[in-house]
Symmetry: none
Subunit: 189 residues, 4 copies
């Protein structure tokens, strides 16, 4: 991906997420993206090597801007607070970016996912794992294998956000708090 024109890349990204949420990943074609982005089919190949790369770049972009970017700034907070901030941010981002969430959801289990993207996904999971390990030491979190705890957080967040995107639910503080309450009860010691 050449960084020749950032606006164009964004236009392509927006067209891709919108189309995916409208038609589904399986009906997403390069020419439909080009059409939606009001450019020629070949132009896409100036910015991306292939369809696979385009989708992976988009996923990475969304993962970083929607999740990973907010992790570093909260490491000084107490553990439960950290979880709450992450939970709250993840939920807020996802609900206010429903097209993006639908894209991420469809992409995550597709055959397009590259090794590299898969690793990026794990970065976030590792951050969560570290947090959980820390919580176990502080005797706050259930002393249980992470592979039993992580799927709960991950699966709940994804499923909840996706459902809310589909149902077009407006995210209130009450929903954030209640859902976090459920989460926390699940993992707390």
């Amino acid at each position: 991906m050449r960084v020749k024109d950032d606006t164009k890349v964004n236009t392509i990204f927006e067209a891709t997420t919108k189309l995916t949420s409208e038609l589904g990943l399986s009906r997403l074609t390069m020419s439909s993206i080009a059409k939606k982005a009001k450019m020629a089919c070949g132009t896409l190949y100036i910015y991306f090597d292939s369809k696979e790369q385009l989708l992976n770049e988009l996923y990475k972009h969304l993962l970083i801007s929607g999740t990973l970017s907010l992790l570093p700034s909260i490491q000084h907070l107490p553990l439960k607070k950290q979880f709450f901030v992450i939970w709250s941010n993840v939920l807020k981002f996802r609900v206010s970016n429903s097209c993006e969430v639908i894209f991420m959801h469809q992409f995550r289990y597709s055959s397009f996912v590259s090794e590299e993207t898969s690793n990026l996904d794990k970065q976030f999971l590792n951050f969560i794992k570290d947090l959980l390990d820390q919580g176990k030491e502080e005797l706050i979190i259930k002393n249980m294998d992470n592979c039993l705890l992580v799927p709960l957080l991950y699966g709940y967040a994804n499923t909840l956000a996706r459902q809310m995107a589909i149902d077009k639910v407006v995210l209130t503080d009450a929903i954030i708090e209640q859902s976090f309450h459920v989460c926390w009860d699940a993992i707390k010691s």
Copy 2:
């Protein structure tokens, strides 16, 4: 006259699940299924009208045999016990049928899902919702909107089972109990 062979549908189903878990749904072609099932391409169309129908029938078959079929038999049990039996069975089925789980996971969010299949999915969800409502009346379950509780159970089960399928984890009673414990803490009042 060659008798219409009932095993053939099963052969097709097995070939389909195996191929999906090997290559992914997007690379699953009718001719690859035929090849894997050691029959001609056209034979598939004797048993199914289309690729879409084949996949939907397979999904329905797996959903019923893996989940729905055990629901009626447990309605006399106390609530928590019912949840445990369902949880335990869902997990057991999924872990011992990893190809099937991967297929179900990929299919569920694909563009192949028919209206009818979607409704069958909702049947199971409704059963869970009824159970939750009953629990709320008994003051055992958190008095919270079902749309906050269901995604937890649904998302956790799917994500956990998928992860275990990928990691080829052997399901022990300890894992079943621990994961159920997590679940129950999440939803209990």
Copy 3:
């Protein structure tokens, strides 16, 4: 074509003409014929070697029973009378056998027509040509190359009959006489 069961051959012929007039020759499949004739697909191949042969046999059967069979008996009549009888019979047969006419029409210009069938068609044309030649000698018919006269008779009969089959016109004596009048004026000296 084995002559094992004449009833069956007729059943097959009827199914074929009906289906062709309902769906068109291009949608006529061997299995649809079998289904309509209430027999198995393979049974058709006991009576006919191939689809091509079936259709050619049917065409020949219709051509003979509807046209050629009545030619020999009228050779003693005066020329104009002969033309009238042929015209009248051709028209009557075709109008009261609209499915058959539609089949013949679609088949005649299809790629199924065999050499042999094509020759049979010419037999009828030759009979007409002989009649025309005779008429020219008697100075009754225009002294003109047959290749200019025959297409008129042939084209008019086919087109008229086909149109009447489509419009479901009831054939009256008046129509027979009027159309013959048109024909005769065209070719008479």
Copy 4:
């Protein structure tokens, strides 16, 4: 950028008519057209939405250029003269475009004909009907239902042209005049 080539449609049309006259409509495949036209299979779909559309467009093109286009310019001529001009032009066009005539003939009774094409066909027939009606008022044409007169003109023209195409007859003025003479005698009062 490669400019969308207007000749390409003509190349496709020529390939299609040639192939149809060589192999018949039923053996006409999109890939055979592409091969004959020396382009890729997919290119056909840049210019036409489907095989059906391609064939209908070609038929319409031939009908308009070969028949309909000359109708408006002759309305000031006396009736018999109009008939002669039409007859003469139709014949000339058809004889010098034998592949096209064979295509039109095969296409006209195929299952590809769209509603729209069918209507275009009727336009020409209506023009002829109007001419006949006018002739009846002038007492020049037989006072007879059009559905008896039109099939003669239509059937004769098609059958004659097709036969001449097959026999590769060279069209002389004598043939035009003689065949018109036959026609006129048929319909004149």
